[in-house]
């Protein structure tokens, strides 16, 4: 499917402001701002300009409050760890204590969400290619992937994360369901197969991320009724012949 830009100048605007550029600006601007871990989220207090950059790159959601000076942003584990570990532009604290050690942060997140390693690998795989990822919950999937900012373009892919021992799409009705849902919102279903790291021991370190491999696969449904045109011949479509068509005396 071709990207669906939301308004006439949207594509041009996207070209003029590539995501990679916004991310670099964000990296510089945040300069080790501190975020605090709270259950499965990270809360970040930032200046209005930083909030604007975070929004431009689609990290986090604004927490509306009466506070005037700072803006509060809420980040998911994937977003927070990406800013912390990959972009290295934020610090993380847990109950007032700063977590300098990457391993401590990693272990904390894993303890809250056992599937975090696989999900983070999938998230960072697409993020590092400059795709914008947001929660896919509204569409019954893990993420939705945008080519640029959601205000400019509709998301093209609904993303499901699969790992070796996952139960996703194991029966046909799951496939029907996921594909139909995606199609009804004009997206292509994309599965990210994350493999590697069969040794559980390694998962204790964020460096295990390097041992993972991500393979992308799209799943789509084909309708034979709609695809019968043969460009080579000019003859009309043959009439459908099936048993029910035949007259019975």
């Amino acid at each position: 499917m071709a990207p669906r830009w939301k308004w006439k100048g949207a594509e041009a605007k996207a070209l003029a402001e590539p995501i990679s550029k916004s991310v670099s600006e964000l990296q510089l601007s945040l300069a080790k701002t501190s975020g605090s871990l709270s259950s499965c989220n990270v809360l970040l207090a930032v200046e209005p300009e930083q909030a604007e950059l975070l929004d431009r790159c689609c990290f986090g959601r604004l927490v509306l409050s009466a506070e005037k000076v700072k803006k509060w942003i809420q980040l998911s584990f994937e977003e927070a760890f990406y800013l912390f570990y990959i972009l290295k532009c934020i610090k993380l604290t847990l109950q007032g204590r700063c977590l300098e050690n990457e391993v401590d942060t990693w272990m904390y997140m894993r303890s809250k969400r056992p599937n975090f390693p696989v999900f983070f690998k999938a998230y960072s795989h697409l993020r590092s290619k400059n795709w914008v990822l947001r929660s896919g919950l509204q569409y019954g999937v893990d993420f939705v992937a945008y080519r640029h900012h959601p205000s400019l373009v509709h998301s093209e892919y609904s993303v499901l994360v699969q790992s070796g021992d996952s139960d996703r799409l194991r029966v046909w009705s799951d496939v029907h369901c996921a594909v139909r849902l995606s199609g009804s919102v004009a997206k292509t279903l994309l599965t990210l197969h994350v493999s590697g790291n069969s040794n559980r021991e390694d998962l204790n370190l964020p460096t295990c991320l390097e041992n993972y491999r991500v393979e992308e696969q799209t799943i789509s449904r084909w309708s034979p009724e709609l695809s019968r045109e043969d460009d080579e011949t000019t003859s009309p479509k043959p009439k459908v012949t099936n048993v029910s068509n035949l007259k019975t005396p």
Binding site: R170, V175, E215, E216, S220, R221, W222, P224, L246, T248
Partner: protein, 242 residues
Amino acid sequence: MEEEDWEASSSSETEEAGFAADDDEEFNAGPKLQFRIGSSKARWVTELGMAEVEVKRGKLWTTTGIIRSGKTYCFIEEALYLSEIGELQILGDDDAVIPLKGLYEMIAEEKSGCCWESYEVYRYLKGLGYILGRHGVPWTSKGAEIMTPSGEEEDSVTKLLGDMQLCDARAVFDVYLPNSRFKKSSPGEPSFVACLSGDSPPSKEDVRVLQSRIDAPLRFCHISQGRVSFFSFSSIDLSVLP
């Protein structure tokens, strides 16, 4: 035995050039034997697991059956489909017409390379005008290269069995778009290859293994309660954006 006079199906009524109108008249050769006007005839050959076509009626034979040493043979799914739509009568050893019941039983035996699910795929797509051939079976033989249909059939069946051991999914039919100028002598590349993966969707590995052997796009069929759905599982690599 069906007594009804099936009226013309929507496929072409005109006879192929070269086939005389000798068999036009209807006659009763005995209580079990009836010849229908406009109906082709084929004889089932158990050793081959195929039917040898003896009388051809209509243009449907340009897109059905394989040609070996100048003769046309059809597989059980082709025979059954044509019988269902009243275009073909299959004769058994005793010269009696094998009724639909008998043909369904042959499908159930699964000894002729086609199970019920494969047949549903065949019937559904044929009914929409697509052209189907068994994957791995050439439409025609080229001179003396191929010995007998059974020899070839065994090769492809053995090959299919061998493939099955490595992978739960298997390729079943080469599917071509509807084409009134289709030629068995040069069919071209199929539009896609229909595959079955059994009771579950294919694993990523199975898709990879099959796609590595087959050049054409693959579509996996899910057959359930008479409904056939087709899914593509395609490896991609999303581009790096600016």
